[in-house]
C-alpha cells in the first residue's frame, strides 16, 4: 500500500530531521526518500521541481508538494490535527500564537548562530573543509546571548511556549542534538541549569529517539 506522505532528504540534515520529528510526534506514516547530496542530486532539475532553492527537505502529501521544514511542520499539525500529539501546535488560538512566537525566535535568533556552529564543527571536518575559527567564536558568543534569554524564559515555564511540549521546542531539537552530542560546545546548553533541564526532557521523547536512530542508521 502506497504511503501518501513522502519526505525527501537525508536524515542527517537538520531541516529534514525537524520534519521527521514532527511526523513521529503526530504518528503520521511516511516514506523517507534519500537524496544523495554529495552527488549533487539536490541541484538537479527533477529535484528543483520539488524545491526550487535546491535544498532539503521536500515533502509530498497526496496532491500537494511543499518545502521549508517549518512550513511542512505547521501543515502536518493542521492537516493531522486529530492524530498523535494533539497539542503539538496548540489547541486554541492563544496557545498557537505563543508557539508561533517561539518558532519564529528559533528561526530568527537561535538557528543562524547554531546552524553555523553545526556546520563548522560537525560537518566541515567530515567534508574536509577548513574550519573558520573567527566565525566559530563569533557565533558561539551570539548563541550564548540567546541561551541566556532562554535560561530566563525556561525558569518561568517548563517549555518555551508554556507548560506543554510544542512545535517550538521540537524546532530546536536538530541543531542542539549535533552541538550536544557531536561537538565540544554542548556545555553551552548543559552549563545552564534550566536550558540543561529542558534539553534532557525534550531529547528523551520517543519521537526524537526514533529520529536519532534513523540518523545513526543512515
Amino acid at each position: 500500500m502506497a504511503t501518501p506522505v513522502k519526505v525527501y532528504g537525508p536524515p542527517m540534515s537538520t531541516a529534514v530531521s525537524r520534519v521527521l520529528a514532527c511526523l513521529y510526534e503526530k504518528n503520521v506514516e511516511f516514506e523517507l526518500i534519500s537524496i544523495n547530496m554529495s552527488k549533487g542530486e539536490h541541484k538537479k532539475p527533477e529535484f528543483l521541481k520539488l524545491q526550487p532553492f535546491g535544498q532539503v527537505p521536500a515533502f509530498e502529501d497526496e496532491s500537494i508538494s511543499i518545502f521549508e521544514s517549518r512550513a511542512i511542520c505547521r501543515y502536518i499539525c493542521d492537516k493531522y490535527a486529530d492524530k498523535g500529539n494533539k497539542g503539538l501546535y496548540g489547541t486554541n488560538p492563544l496557545a498557537k500564537a505563543s508557539i508561533d512566537q517561539w518558532i519564529e525566535a528559533e528561526g530568527q535568533s537561535f538557528n543562524p548562530p547554531s546552524s553555523t556552529l553545526v556546520f563548522q564543527l560537525a560537518f566541515a571536518p567530515r567534508m574536509n573543509i577548513k574550519q573558520d575559527k573567527v566565525l566559530i567564536r563569533q557565533n558561539e558568543e551570539k548563541l550564548s546571548k540567546v541561551l541566556d534569554i532562554y535560561e530566563k524564559r525556561l525558569g518561568e515555564a517548563r517549555f518555551l511556549a508554556g507548560d506543554e511540549f510544542s512545535l517550538a521546542d521540537l524546532s530546536h531539537l536538530p541543531n542542539t542534538q549535533y552541538l550536544v552530542s557531536g561537538t565540544d560546545k554542548g556545555n553551552l546548553f548543559t552549563s545552564r541549569e534550566n536550558v540543561g533541564r529542558w534539553w534532557d526532557e525534550i531529547s528523551s521523547r520517543d519521537s526524537w529517539k526514533k529520529v536519532v536512530d534513523l540518523q545513526k542508521g543512515a
Binding site: 532553492f53 517549518r70 512550513a71 505547521r74 498557537k96 500564537a97 508561533d100 519564529e104 530568527q108
Partner: protein, 215 residues
C-alpha cells in the same frame, strides 16, 4: 482606548510589518514609539514585552506577543472576519502560503535585511556603506529573485491567486530597497517588478508610509 498596542520604531522593518497588517485588517490600534537611540528597547519594561530586546511587540488585551511574523499570523487568524483576508482556511491552500512565508523569512530576509542596513539605514545614521557586503548580498538576492521570477510567472502572488501574508511580509524591506541601487534587481525581472508595483501600491501600505512621514 484601543485594546491593541503596537510597540516599535517607525524605521524598523519588523515594526512596519506589524503596522501594515493592522491597517489591512482595519483594526483600531495605538502605536507606542520605542526610542531605540536611548536604548529603551533594552530596558526592563520593554524586555517584559520582548525578552530579546527587539522591536516590535504587540499587546492585545492581556495577550503579549513578539516576533513580527508570529504577530501577523495571530492577527490574520484572530481577526479573520475583518478587513483583507490574508490566510486560507483550507489546509492545502494554506500550506502553500506557509511555504512562501518561510521562504521570505529564511531565504529572502537574511539577504535583503543586510542590504537594507548597508544602503538604507547606515546612510540615515551617518555611517559608511560596506561595498563588499553590498556586492555579496546583491549576488545572493539575484539568485533568490530568479526563483521568485519563475514562481510569479505561474502564480499571481507568491502564496497563490490572492495577496496573503506571504506577500505582505516582504513589504518593509522592499520599500527600503526601492530607494537604493538594489532596485535594479527587481526592475530587471518583469514578473517580480509587476508584483512589487502591485503590492507596494496597496492602500494599507500607503497608510504606513503616511504614518512614517507624520513622525
Amino acid at each position: 482606548m484601543a485594546a491593541i498596542k503596537a510597540h516599535g520604531s517607525l524605521i524598523s522593518t519588523a515594526t512596519n510589518r506589524v503596522l501594515v497588517i493592522l491597517y489591512e485588517k482595519e483594526l483600531e490600534f495605538e502605536f507606542v514609539s520605542v526610542d531605540m537611540s536611548t536604548g529603551e528597547h533594552k530596558k526592563d519594561h520593554f524586555l517584559s514585552l520582548n525578552p530579546f530586546g527587539q522591536v516590535p511587540a504587540l499587546e492585545d488585551g492581556d495577550l503579549k506577543l513578539f516576533e513580527s511574523r508570529a504577530i501577523t499570523k495571530y492577527v490574520a487568524y484572530e481577526y479573520a472576519g475583518k478587513g483583507t483576508q490574508l490566510i486560507h482556511q483550507d489546509s492545502k491552500k494554506m500550506a502553500i502560503t506557509l511555504v512562501w512565508m518561510e521562504v521570505e523569512a529564511q531565504q529572502y530576509d537574511p539577504v535583503a535585511s543586510k542590504l537594507v542596513w548597508e544602503l538604507g539605514i547606515k546612510p540615515m545614521l551617518g555611517m559608511v556603506t560596506d561595498k563588499a557586503i553590498v556586492e555579496e548580498n546583491e549576488a545572493k538576492l539575484a539568485k533568490v529573485l530568479d526563483v521568485y521570477e519563475n514562481r510569479l510567472a505561474h502564480s499571481k502572488y507568491l502564496g497563490g491567486d490572492c495577496f496573503t501574508l506571504a506577500d505582505l511580509h516582504h513589504l518593509p524591506t522592499l520599500q527600503y530597497l526601492l530607494g537604493t541601487q538594489s532596485q535594479k534587481l527587481f526592475d530587471s525581472r518583469p514578473h517580480v517588478s509587476a508584483w512589487v508595483a502591485d503590492i507596494t501600491a496597496r492602500p494599507a501600505w500607503l497608510k504606513v508610509q503616511a504614518l512614517r512621514k507624520k513622525h
